[in-house]
Every structure is written in C-alpha cells, then in structure tokens.
C-alpha cells in the first residue's frame, strides 16, 4: 500500500470530508485515503486521460492487475454505499470497511450479520464464495449464495460449475424443488445427464392434477419420457390402469346392478392401486374384464381373486381358480400359494367345513396340515393324517378331544381296532 502524497492532504483537509482526521495510522483509513485519491482523480480527469491516472481499487491495488471494477462503477459504488458512512464514527465504519473476502462474507452470513454478495462479480470470485460456503457446512448460507449465482450467472455456466460440486448441486436441486421451478429442474437434470431422474420429476407432476381425465392424458404424454426400463413399465401400467378405472367408474357409479345393492361400494375405484382394482374387478365384474395386460404375478392374481370370490362365497369360482389340466387331460388342483394360505382365507370367510377340508387335504406337509386341522377343528382330517402317519399314540390322545359317541369317535375306534395298520407306536 502506497503512502498518500503530502499535497493530497491539503485537498482533503479543506474539503467537506472533514469528519476524518488524517493523522490516523489506522490501516483502514490509509485505505480510505487511497480510495479518496482514486475518487478524486476520477472526478477531475476525463476518460481521455486514462493512461495518466493510476486506477486504484478498494484494496489499494492498481486496477490493471485485476479485471474488476470500472471507473464509473467504482464511483457509483462509493457514492451509493460508502458516502453516508463517511459521516459515521470510526467504530461503526469498521464493519463496512473490513476485508470483504469470500471467507469473511460467508462468516458474516453464518452469523446473520449484514453482508453483500453483489461485489463478487467475476466468475472466479463467485466460485470461491460458493466453495467457501460449502466448506462451512451451513445449508442456509450455501443456498443464499446459490440464489445469488442463479441471478447473476447464465444457467449454462451455473450448471457446468455445479456438475463439479456435489454438495452445492444438492442444495440447488432442493431449492428449485421448493420454489416449484419445474422447468429449470428438468433442464438441469438433462444437463447432468440424469435423464431418468428428469423423467421421474416430470412424471411427479401428475400428483398435482386433480381431474382424472386430465391426469390420464398427462400420463399418456409421459410415456414418451426417457424412463429407465423398469420405471417405464410402471408408468405404462399406471396409465393403462387409470384408463381402465375411468371406464369402470363411469359404469359403476350408478350402482344399478344387483350386486351393488347387496355389497355397496365403499369408495370410488379411481386412483386405487392395481391389487385393489383387481380385487374390485374380481368382486364386482368377475369373468368380465380382462386385467391380464397389467403386470401382475400369478400369485398376486390368485390371492386377490380368491379373497374376492371367497367373500362372495362363490365356492365354485374358487374351485376353478385352482383347477389345471395336466398333460394327460386330468384335472388337478394346483396353487402358486401354499394351500394352507388358501385354507386360512377360506376360513376367514366362513367357508363350509366340506370346502375347508377339501383344500386342507391338499396340504403336503403333514405337520402343517395337522396344526391347521386342529385349529379349525376338522376332525376327519386330523384322524386321517394320524392314520397316514401311523401314529397310534396321537390318535389316542386326539380321541380325548372329540365328543364321546360322535362319528369321529367311532371312526377313531375303528382305526385303533384295525389290525392291518402297522402302527409305529
């Protein structure tokens, strides 16, 4: 920092800026002197004589060394920002005259003190500011800096820089989400090459559409977005499902059919998940509509259809769910879910004992079969299973659980007397 030339002092001493004494050795005032000198030279000189005048920035360094402030801007800044302050006592001025480095600025921001970001105009300084904010970990400050950068940098440049700065990027994305800047977000995702995120983001907008017809149309348009393969399937399903639901809803709303009077609908089918829709279809429209185009597994289908038909006590329909023809043409019962599960569901729907027993007999695991049979008091099955296991002891024990003189009792007695059975105990 150069010392002021003596002749300058005279000018200043006689000027209206007499609030200051120039005997101070304070660095700040030395700086101020330099500034005043710069301003002074600006006020006096014309642009043509630029070369003769030493252009000085606030830090006292010649302007030529940094591509920073132009003359007029310097003047403007000075007048607008600092002129009133010159009249304030030194102690208050200290705040405004301290080092305005990025570090200092970020520190001030963290403490909620007054700060100014506008002075950081070069890209280099802006990035320094951002990096400093990130290193201080305060999200509030990081976002504030990003808001400034958003205003003062083209989005291409900003995106390019954010690509290299993960933490800043996350804050920026969150900010844009909160501000509802959908369009910009999509552009950002695109620039980052995160096309599936971009697609998801656009897809998410469907949540804002209340009218189902409009939502369906929106989803249709979404189909062309660059989703990942799996996501694409789901969006397709979503669209197909909603389309189907709209049709069903239109028909069923009136509730004319007999079944709706017996089992009135609890809610509209619109926007319900696939399984719920499937259940609804199996319940109200069994055999009519074709839901097989949707991505449902066999298990899911069976379970849902079973639940619906059992509720309606359509045991015949339940039966046909499990019938398959094997290669010889014989009908055999097969289930992708364990038959014990089937029994549970049937029992919960108060299926008659014969029906329960029929499915219980299809359970392979004897232990499981036994426990279920005992739970639901299907005596015949218990007896038969013990017979098959050749477990005489258990049969004797079980006899105690059945009613004396009942046909189960008689059955057990018969078996116990049967000499042909090779009991194991």
């Amino acid at each position: 920092m150069t010392r002021p030339k003596p002749e300058d002092d005279e000018y200043w001493n006689s000027s209206k800026f007499s609030a200051f004494t120039f005997d101070d050795e304070d660095d700040e005032f030395t700086k101020m002197k330099e500034s005043k000198r710069a301003v002074n030279s600006m006020l006096v000189d014309d642009d043509d004589d630029d070369d003769d005048v030493e252009k000085v920035s606030w830090s006292g360094e010649p302007i030529g060394s940094k591509p920073n402030f132009t003359h007029s801007f310097l003047l403007l800044q000075y007048t607008l920002a600092y002129a009133p302050e010159l009249r304030k006592p030194k102690s208050e001025c200290k705040d405004y005259m301290s080092d305005w480095s990025p570090e200092e600025t970020v520190r001030r921001m963290r403490k909620g003190k007054v700060f100014s970001l506008e002075r950081f105009r070069s890209l280099q300084e802006k990035l320094l500011l951002l990096d400093e904010a990130v290193s201080e970990n305060d999200g509030n400050v990081i976002t504030a800096v990003l808001i400034y950068l958003k205003k003062s940098l083209s989005k291409e440049i900003l995106f390019r820089e954010l690509m290299l700065r993960e933490i800043a990027l996350r804050h920026y994305v969150h900010y844009l989400k909160e501000m509802g800047e959908q369009k910009l977000l999509v552009e950002l995702m695109k620039a980052l090459g995160r096309t599936d995120d971009m697609a998801l983001m656009q897809y998410k907008e469907h949540l804002n559409i209340k009218d189902e017809g409009q939502r369906r149309d929106f989803l249709k348009n979404c189909l062309s977005l660059p989703f990942s393969q799996d996501d694409a399937i789901h969006v397709q399903d979503h669209y197909t499902l909603l389309e189907r639901q709209i049709i069903i809803e239109a028909n069923d709303k009136r509730g004319d059919a007999e079944i709706f009077k017996k089992f009135p609908r609890k809610a509209s089918i619109l926007n319900m998940p696939i399984i719920t829709t499937l259940y609804y279809s199996c319940f109200y429209h069994y055999g009519e509509s074709d839901v097989s185009t949707l991505t449902i597994s066999e298990k899911q289908y069976i379970l849902t259809a079973l639940g619906a038909r059992a509720k309606l006590k359509s045991w015949f329909d339940v039966d046909s769910l499990f019938n398959t023809k094997n290669w010889l043409g014989y009908t055999k019962k097969r289930s992708p879910i364990g038959f014990h599960r089937v029994v549970d569901i049937l029992q919960k729907n108060n299926a008659p004992v014969q029906v329960l027993q029929e499915y219980m007999n299809l359970i392979d695991d004897p232990e499981l079969k036994l426990s279920l049979a005992q739970k639901y008091k299907c005596h015949d099955i218990v007896i038969d299973t013990y017979r098959d296991l050749k477990d005489r002891q258990q049969l004797i024990v079980y006899r105690g659980k059945v009613e004396r003189g009942s046909k189960e009792d008689k059955k057990i007695e018969e078996l116990l007397c049967n000499m042909q059975i090779r009991w194991k105990n």
Partner: protein
C-alpha cells in the same frame, strides 16, 4: 415395577427453564406488534405452542383469533396479522400472496412473520421477489428445545431427517449447533464430546464455532458429556417393531409433543381423551419402559392394589373416612383413572397387534436380524404382500401398493435403504414397510421385517463384531432383563445404543476401528478444557443427541443402560420417530 437405579445415580438438571425462556421470548415478540392481532400458526407448531403458551396466555397478549396455517385464502378481518411459522418457502409464498392480494384490493394491514427457530435467506428472497419485503416485519423466535419429559428434549423438527439425509440439504446444521449451544450455555460446560456421522461432525463444528465466538460464564456444569449420532448410522433400529409400552403407544396412537389422544375404544366412553404421557403419570411411568408382556400383569396387580385401598374404607368410622376422603381419595381416583386408561390402551394394542399376526411378524423380524431361516421369512413375507421372488424387487410392491410409490422407491434408493438386488439374493424388505404404510387396510398383515440394505453385509458383520444378537441358548427373562436387547424381546441390542455404551466404556473409539470403518467413519472424540471442580456427578450425565430422530425404544434402552452403569442419559433429538414416520418422510406420494 420400574427397576430401581443405583442409589448413587446423579440428579437430572431442571429443564423447565427452557420452557420459561421460550415463552418469554415469544411474548416479547408478540408485543412488538402492539394492539389486537390475529395469529396464524403452522400446523407443525400447534402442539409445541400448546406446551409453551396456551390460548389464554396468547389472548392476554392481544391475540384475537387463532388460525391454523392452511395454504388457502384467509378469512381474517383483523388489521394486524401475525404468522408463526417454520421457515418454509411454500408458507412464505402463501403469506406473500395474502399481502399482495390485500394490496390489490386496496386493503391496508400490518404483517409480522415470526420464523422459528430461525429464518432462512431463501425465505427472505421470496419476500423480496414477491415485492412484499418492505411490507412485512420479520423476527426469529429462537425456540430450539422443548422438554418432553425429565430426560427427553426435542427440537420438534421432523423435517430434519428428510432434508438432511434424503435431500442432502444442510440447512439445519447450524440450527442443531445452536440448540447444542443453548444447552451448553445453560447446563454446561461439557467435558467431552463424542460423535459419529457426517452430520454429527458438522453439528459439532458449528457448535464449537458458536461457542468460540460467544462468551461462556464460568459455571458449575450439570451435563458433563455429549454424544452426537446421525440417524443414518443406524437405520435398522427405528424400523424394528416396538414392543416396549411407550413405543407401542406411539406406534398405535401417536404421541405428539409428549401427549396422546385416546379414542373411545380406549376410554370406554363415547368421548376421546387427550392426556400427557410422561413421568407425571405415575402409572405410565412405571410401565413405559417395560416389555409389553409384563404390562398386563403389572396393570392387573395395580388394579388389585387399588381395590384393596378402596376397600379400606369399609371398616372406617366417620373421622377416618374424613381423613381418607381429604387425603387419599383424590390420589386413588387419579390412579384409577390412569389405570383404566392404560388398561384400555393395552387392550387396544393387543387387538391391533393380534390382527396383524404380530407374533409372526416379530418372529420374522428377528430371524431376519439373525440371518437365519431367511427362506421361510421370505415366503411369509411374500404371502403377505402378494408377491413372488423376482429380479427387481421394486416392481412388486409398487404393483401391490400403488404406482405413486415409484417415486418413493427412488427416494429409498437415494438414501441407501434400497439397492438393486443381485439375482438370487433375498428380499428387499424395506418395500414391505412401505406397503404397510400405503394401504394399511388391505395390507394390514404386512410384516415389519427389514434389513439395512445398503449396508446389508455390513449389518451382519457389525452385529457379529458388537454382539448385537444375544446368544439364544438360555431363556431370556423379560421381567428381569439382563441387557438392552429386552426392548426387542431379547432378540437384538439396538446398534445406536450399543455404540454409545462402547464409546463411553472406552472413553473414545479405541478398539472400535473396524466398527467405525463399517459405518463410514466420521467418528470423533474431543476433550474440552479441564474443569477445576472435583464433582463427578456431571460426568455421569450424558446428553445423547440424535440427528434425524430417535425412537422411544432407544430411549428405553438408554434408560436401562443408565440404570446399569450408574449414568443418567438425557436424550436430545431432532424429533421422536418410529418406523411409520421414518418411511413416511421418504414417501413421495403427495405433491
């Protein structure tokens, strides 16, 4: 039945001061807008405000009408509007809209926004952009700490979890640091600060910077040690089904700011009842940390004792009766009331959990934790959520529970809870939890099974290294628990609490290098300036700060640990959470 602690256990500091401070601050701020005003309160702040300043107090300070913040046009006719809100951009936009529509219709009003616990620059920017910056005054109500009980303090910031761990937004770091700073200035200085987790480290640094800037009066510390821990160091524990009474009450009835609303099915009348559930409720206090299997037994015993006490009056004369009525009866009636409430609640819990085949769920969960019987667990889970094992597990739950959850899965992936499974590998059980939330009616039978997926292999290794799964050899007596695993029926010691136990025992992280490596590091242990007092009590009071939320189960576990080792734990959490709320925070099924 509450286990008596060691007789030398230290006394807890008095946290009621925090409420008084907060109240005074709020009143001061309200008075900055003199005259009648209508107050709009953020929905999230209503329970909290109830604890600090009730309606009467507010009305005493010229609050005329109270409204909940709903993002719709307002009907208030007052000339002065005051808004008490969390610093959310959406809310600020709504306020700006109000101001602008007033301006458009030529209506002049005064507006004051009180941000709590602080305002964000982004909020101010919104005000500026909407052209209303000069029309409103803004203030900060620096309310950080709400004592929920003698040993629980909450920041009531459930959004901390999602903002920090899902969105990666560090906006609340300074807030947490300030909360810690407040504790420090009122109850410190701290001797030691331990911690683990990226956020914990940042919060520690923020606190340290704030302390360095400010002044600390020399005082006798009441809290000696602090432990900071990120929620994402242990995701497994909050996702486990809770079986301690307090945890169950939260899971089923939802405890908000230390109070719960019991519906008619519990109160056996046609009315609902809102009660405080804390140490003031003598009955609750005795059963809160107990495993649910003990609760019924305890409550029936208490009921019998109560009956005996009531029966005493049979043989009394007039004088004795008078004494009885004036001294004992009120207490007995109170106890009776509480007892019937908790019995009602327990019955309700039993009913709900039986419906969900709770036993089965727990068994599955425990097996998954142990790593055994995985295939059986899978089939159980499968059948309950109607799926079949396929490569990409994501699809199934989406299909079952609504396509909108496609977005939720993106979130789960983000946060590391869900990873693409290798072919042939086992289930991503997170989905089952999500399914449970989504469509609880149809999927009521969902299992709460899970595993911490991103760190799946790590969890197994961690649990081995830290012995989180107690040996299943002998019977585990839940009435006389021998370790923290009792909170999960003896199946699992919560990772978070085990870490705390180990670090305190070793006074640092020595010997735990393997463990910290598996948890992605960021551990620290700092010793503060030496204290020149010789009191050891504060050293045994440990403040555990959970960043991202903690569960009642973990609190029960820490209470147990404290009783065992002669510590007293104070839990400072950003919010009380449970499996439902944790996953809900990740749901993206609403705009």
């Amino acid at each position: 039945m509450a286990h008596t602690g060691r007789r030398d256990a230290p006394e807890l500091p008095d946290f009621s001061l925090l409420k008084r401070l907060a109240r005074d601050q709020l009143i001061y701020l309200l008075e900055q807008l003199p005259g009648k005003k209508d107050l709009f309160i953020d929905a999230d702040l209503m329970s909290l405000l109830d604890r600090i300043a009730n309606v009467t107090t507010l009305k005493q300070h010229e609050v005329d009408k109270l409204y909940k913040v709903e993002l719709k046009p307002i009907v208030s006719t007052s000339d002065q509007l005051c808004f008490l809100i969390r610093p959310r951009i959406q809310t600020v936009k709504w306020i700006a809209d109000i101001v602008n529509s007033d301006k458009a219709s030529g209506r002049f009003r005064r507006y004051k926004i009180i941000f709590t616990p602080q305002k964000f620059y982004a909020c101010e920017t919104v005000l500026e952009e909407q052209g209303v910056y000069g029309d409103v005054t803004t203030d900060e109500w620096a309310f950080y700490l709400l004592p929920l009980d003698d040993d629980i303090i909450s920041l009531e910031l459930p959004e901390f979890f999602r903002d920090n761990f899902l969105e990666g937004d560090q906006r609340w770091v300074t807030t947490a640091g300030s909360a810690l700073r407040l504790v420090y200035s009122l109850y410190g200085p701290f001797s030691k600060v331990y911690g683990i987790g990226r956020c914990a480290k940042m919060v520690y640094e923020s606190w340290r910077d704030q302390v360095e800037d400010g002044e600390q009066k020399a005082r006798q510390p009441e809290i000696g040690n602090v432990f900071l821990i990120d929620r994402d160091v242990d995701f497994v524990t909050p996702l486990c089904s809770q079986v301690v009474y307090e945890g169950l009450v939260d899971d089923i009835f939802r405890i908000k700011c230390g109070s719960v609303e019991f519906g008619p099915e519990v109160t056996s009348s046609d009315k609902s009842l809102k009660v405080m559930v804390n140490s003031q409720d003598k009955v609750f206090n005795e059963i809160r940390n107990e495993h649910f299997s003990n609760v019924f037994g305890f409550l029936s015993q208490k009921a019998r004792n109560l009956q005996t006490a009531y029966d005493k009056r049979r043989g009394m004369d007039i004088q004795q009766m008078k004494t009885f009525v004036s001294e004992e009866l009120k207490g007995l009636k109170q106890e009776h009331r509480l007892l019937s409430l908790h019995i009602g609640a327990s019955e309700c819990i039993m009913k709900k959990k039986t419906k969900q085949d709770f036993q089965e769920l727990l068994k599955t969960e425990h097996s998954l934790l142990e790593g055994f019987e995985v295939r059986e667990c899978i089939s159980f889970i499968e059948e309950h959520i109607n799926r079949q094992v396929r490569q990409h597990k994501q699809s199934k739950t989406i299909v079952s529970y609504g396509i909108e959850h496609l977005l939720t899965f993106a979130n789960l992936k983000q946060i590391g809870l869900l990873v693409e499974q290798q072919p042939g590998e086992t289930l991503t059980v997170m989905e089952s939890k999500v399914g449970k939330l989504v469509n609880d009616k149809t999927a009521g039978k969902l299992t709460d099974a899970f595993s911490s997926l991103a760190k799946k292999s790590n969890f197994r290794a961690l649990s081995k290294r830290l012995v989180l799964i107690p040996k299943s050899g002998e019977e585990y007596d839940l009435r006389v628990p021998r370790d923290m695993a009792y909170i999960f029926s003896g199946a699992y010691i919560p990772l978070s609490c085990k870490l705390i136990e180990q670090v305190l025992e070793r006074d640092g992280w020595t010997g735990l290098e393997e463990v910290t490596r598996m948890l992605n590091g960021h551990e620290f242990a700092v010793t503060g300036p030496p204290q020149d007092h010789c009191r050891t009590d504060p050293q045994r009071i440990i403040l555990v700060m959970f960043l991202g939320g903690c569960t009642y189960s973990e609190i029960s576990a820490l209470r147990f640990l404290g009783r065992e080792k002669g510590y007293k734990f104070i839990v400072l959490t950003t919010a009380i959470t449970n499996s439902a709320r944790l996953l809900e925070a990740l749901l993206d099924n609403h705009a």
